[in-house]
Assembly symmetry: C2
């Protein structure tokens, strides 16, 4: 088995998605939040791609499957999912990606491949700590950290295998 992290190594993505959905249901139930059909479908669509999806990409998929959706439909679902830590917004891409650490309290660090578009979410306490220390040194009280690293993923550094 490869030592490379998901999503770079091959895996059963359908299982990976259904597990994420199951976890999402559990989290919502636990917090008395309603994971309605639309919200669940949006979450599933986002998870089906390791590449971040734009809100209008999600909208297009919804309408293509007969859902009578408008932009607010999607943005509201995304707001909900973000609120419960089920998806993250990637500010540098104006796009959304499934949270791979849902439920855990964390600050995500995103490795975004500019070639294949895949995104890997990391949780690195050493990074978070360094950032918090730097903020402290300026007497700044951090609340939210946006950390997005663009570059080349292992699979795209040498070949043309841009999925």
């Amino acid at each position: 088995m490869s030592s490379r992290a998901l999503p770079y190594r091959p895996h059963n993505h359908a299982a990976c998605v259904s597990q994420a959905l199951a976890e999402a249901k559990a989290i919502c139930q636990q917090q008395n939040a309603r994971l309605t059909p639309t919200r669940e479908r949006v979450l599933e669509l986002i998870w089906q791609s390791h590449k971040p999806l734009g809100a209008y990409d999600v909208l297009a998929k919804l309408t293509s499957e007969g859902h009578n959706a408008a932009p607010p439909t999607v943005y509201r679902a995304l707001d909900f999912l973000q609120q419960y830590g089920l998806v993250h917004r990637i500010a540098s891409l104006n796009a959304f990606t499934g949270c791979t650490h849902a439920g855990e309290h964390h600050t995500g660090m995103f490795l975004i491949c500019r070639a294949c578009g895949n995104v890997l979410e990391l949780m690195e306490s050493s990074v978070t700590t360094a950032i918090e220390n730097a903020a402290s040194a300026e007497a700044f009280q951090p609340e939210a950290i946006t950390l997005e690293v663009a570059g080349l993923c292992p699979g795209c550094q040498t070949d043309q295998h841009h999925e």
Copy 2:
């Protein structure tokens, strides 16, 4: 004198702006880049605020002073200024701020006060190193780092002095 960093402590902002402009001129001259009047004016407008300005804010100021400008005018100037490291784009705000380390090769870390809107740019090699190490551990080759921390600046943590 306060130990707090600019822009939190009071200072002669006009001087601070004109120094930034002088440095910008030097940097452009050194690299055979043309800091045309429009580009220089955009840079000055951005520097006159410690708060990031949106592209359309810049556009509004230009048109209000008689400049016959359209969105591309501003975006092209901003592209140029970013290319030479004279301004940074803050992805989480869709806005631009003057680079306080122009000329130095660096990765900026931005402390963004959600109350007063001021932004402080830091250069912390310990943070950069931690991020690069985390990326390395995933065999990811970083090219650009977006690091934006939202929270409360020293002046806004206790009082209502939201400038």
